[in-house]
Assembly symmetry: C2
Amino acid sequence: MSPVSRRITCPTLATKVTSATEAASYINDGDRVGMSGFTGAGYPKAVPAALAERAKDAHDRGEDFGIDLWTGASTAPELDGVLAEARAVRRRLPFQSDPTLREAINTGETEYVDTHLSHSAQQAWFGFYGQLNVAVIEVAAILPNGLLVPGSSVGNNKTWLQLADKVILEVNDWHPRAYEGFHDIYYGTKLPPERRPLQLTDPLQRIGDPYLRVDPEKVVAVVHTDAPDRNLPFKPADEQSKAMASHVVDFLRYEIDQGRLPKNLLPLQSGIGNVANAVMAELAHSEFEDLLAYTEVIQDGMLDLIDTGKLTAVSATSFSLSAERAEQFNARAEEYKGRILLRTQEVSNHPEAIRRLGVISINGMVEADIYGNVNSTHVMGSSIINGIGGSGDFARNAYLNFFVSGSMAKGGAISSIVPFASHIDHTEHDTQILVTEQGLADLRGLSPAARARTIIRNCAHPDYQDLLQDYFDRAVAANARGQHTPHLLGEALSWHGNYQRTGSMKP
Amino acid sequence: MSPVSRRITCPTLATKVTSATEAASYINDGDRVGMSGFTGAGYPKAVPAALAERAKDAHDRGEDFGIDLWTGASTAPELDGVLAEARAVRRRLPFQSDPTLREAINTGETEYVDTHLSHSAQQAWFGFYGQLNVAVIEVAAILPNGLLVPGSSVGNNKTWLQLADKVILEVNDWHPRAYEGFHDIYYGTKLPPERRPLQLTDPLQRIGDPYLRVDPEKVVAVVHTDAPDRNLPFKPADEQSKAMASHVVDFLRYEIDQGRLPKNLLPLQSGIGNVANAVMAELAHSEFEDLLAYTEVIQDGMLDLIDTGKLTAVSATSFSLSAERAEQFNARAEEYKGRILLRTQEVSNHPEAIRRLGVISINGMVEADIYGNVNSTHVMGSSIINGIGGSGDFARNAYLNFFVSGSMAKGGAISSIVPFASHIDHTEHDTQILVTEQGLADLRGLSPAARARTIIRNCAHPDYQDLLQDYFDRAVAANARGQHTPHLLGEALSWHGNYQRTGSMKP
């Protein structure tokens, strides 16, 4: 890393250029720190490591050193990883996926506050998390007038820049300079009772500015970096993912036939992972045209859909590309301008926008119970995996929502369809369509008991189908006056208990 | 009931005036029927009874006769009660509270689809429930031009009138003729991708028309009635409700002191019941002024607040008054004009409006678990009580949400704070503040484990406090790598099992 960059052209802010170590010295024990980053994109690359060193040194001296860490969503080893490894994260919100940090949460060292992504910025504004002391935000460039060209994610950057007492900027030359014009930063948010409608009626509509703003008085340090984002490698879709994608796309065709969807569908949202990429691949080889996306992240599959011309435009808050695809994109960024817009996550995940646009939402799940309550976050009730992310924002407000998962895990030791979910993130009132490689359960307009019959028949793996049907039948028989959602409460969570005891959910 | 009314002044529609029996003959076995009604207000008073007779006659002849019944929310014995008693309801949505109907749902005779109130109209428009065959809508008057003056509730009436193939109108002289001008019927809803922003920035702002519209060609019958709404009697607040109300109001004062709420608060929503009325009573004797409400129903307590001048204006979708208070209101309706607006439930419960206005939401609960997951709908996991209603619409999108309940039920045999909720309607991601007569737990910004300590300490009844703490402590000890949400899954639902076996949750 060199101390200067041609990207830092604001005379005032250029005087603040310094080392990551110097920058990290502005962050104190107990501070609340808002950092950029959303799924391994656009996170600061240098200051977190320097801060981790600072924490380790303090700990070596027998002193306390820990921060509350707020981000957009998950980040990367260079942020969550190094800080968790240094035992420097006391509290974390709103979404994470780093293995070291996850371990710190599950061992009780770090407190994790798992808010909806659409709630994180507004609740910070409401003052529910306390005053934000420092913002550490990665950008692609600083313009002569002090405006900031955002990088590969927007997330909560606008909010952290506005709320923090002190600001540290990282200017990363790795981001294409051509990012200028890719972003739409909405500055119309207010606190109630001053809030006004979000005048957004089309996924690609601009309602804000291309730049982030910062009060130069608050900037204490500017750090120059040239380092790549660290997203997860792309895995080609396996047969199971392809089967699930095929169920989803066939169902969309069916809905068009029934007159319930336009021919070019409605704007798509898809969560992170292989099923999402498989759905995009299935669409890429389909008859669909003129598709739109209003989503959180742009994965490889969605970029492919743009390349093939199937996808006209996508609104998101972040990229989440494989290393190869990110390099390709960076080299050709200019070609995508006008077809990709990155927004603040307040807007990408806003209930108002999602409901108005009528988004079709596709998200993964850990498990669903026979009544369609979905667990997106926990293993066996107690341990967190990543967090709810935006799945609740999208599922609740979508026109159609899908939750997808393989019907089994751990080589068949775990059924993803269970009598009673060991944690519930999406309730029966919110979930519409469940998909496994076995099939699809359309739960719309069904009572809980009818849902159970459909889910067991269509989605459960044959190895668990009879066991689930047996549970349901006995629950029906045992609840003469509880036929709405028949349960055997003494047995409802026993499958998880079996797994914990014997290594298999089977009795 | 006389066959004519001075309220039916449209020449075309006056020719359709007929008996309830004749009107009911337009409803066939298997029909989907959308009726008016929201919490015992504004439901049709005559046609349901005639329809029930028709069903009984058919059943006596050995024929099938049953309908899918869609409403705004709960209704009254004259609608849900008579139809359930006649075994004429095959499927019901979206909210109910009639004892006979509840029994039919819990014995499996009636399928109940418990959707969010904000989802019911749009999902009907989306075609998720099938084609609506008949609408049966109570109104206060039919104008010469055919426009309809709505009655004491709006609910889904606009949607049912638009979607149904056939329309039956009941004109009820009991409603004050002065209702003209009390309603705001928003006709700007569209299907995606044609949806536009809801331009609502103030609870009392008009964005629609004072009248319901109906295509006169679709009207097959007009029935004249003169019968009162049947709301529940008002019960004066007991000591427990007063204690909970006092915790809520003290907390609002605290939030003002902390600079997190304006002095006149933000628009209030309160669910149905005694605690809601107690909160209104507490506010009536407080220092608060210039209050606003953006809510579903107007109960006695809210009308009192208007009378004392504390509450400037209220937006709702329905009245839910005691018989005495309803008679008083009807006699003086004109005085309330301009301070009360009744909207469609699409708008009263719209996520967009609730979030923008920053509503303070107060709803009852059946139970909460130690992590703040809330059960609003079920007894012991299997039996439905009423339904989720609008509690999810408000809780998710509120500025602040409260869930309130006495800490015990059934004379201490049931704790409303449990290790694991036997049904979950509001997840940990959505619930902010739990209140019992014991105290208040502010869960904002806390990790699940910290939530548990707060809830057990502040909200649990002393009779159950040690048992809950013991469960939590042992769950912590047993989950070295599950400290995020520590549970003992083999024991998590055992309190409910105890109650089912022994009549008490205690071991």
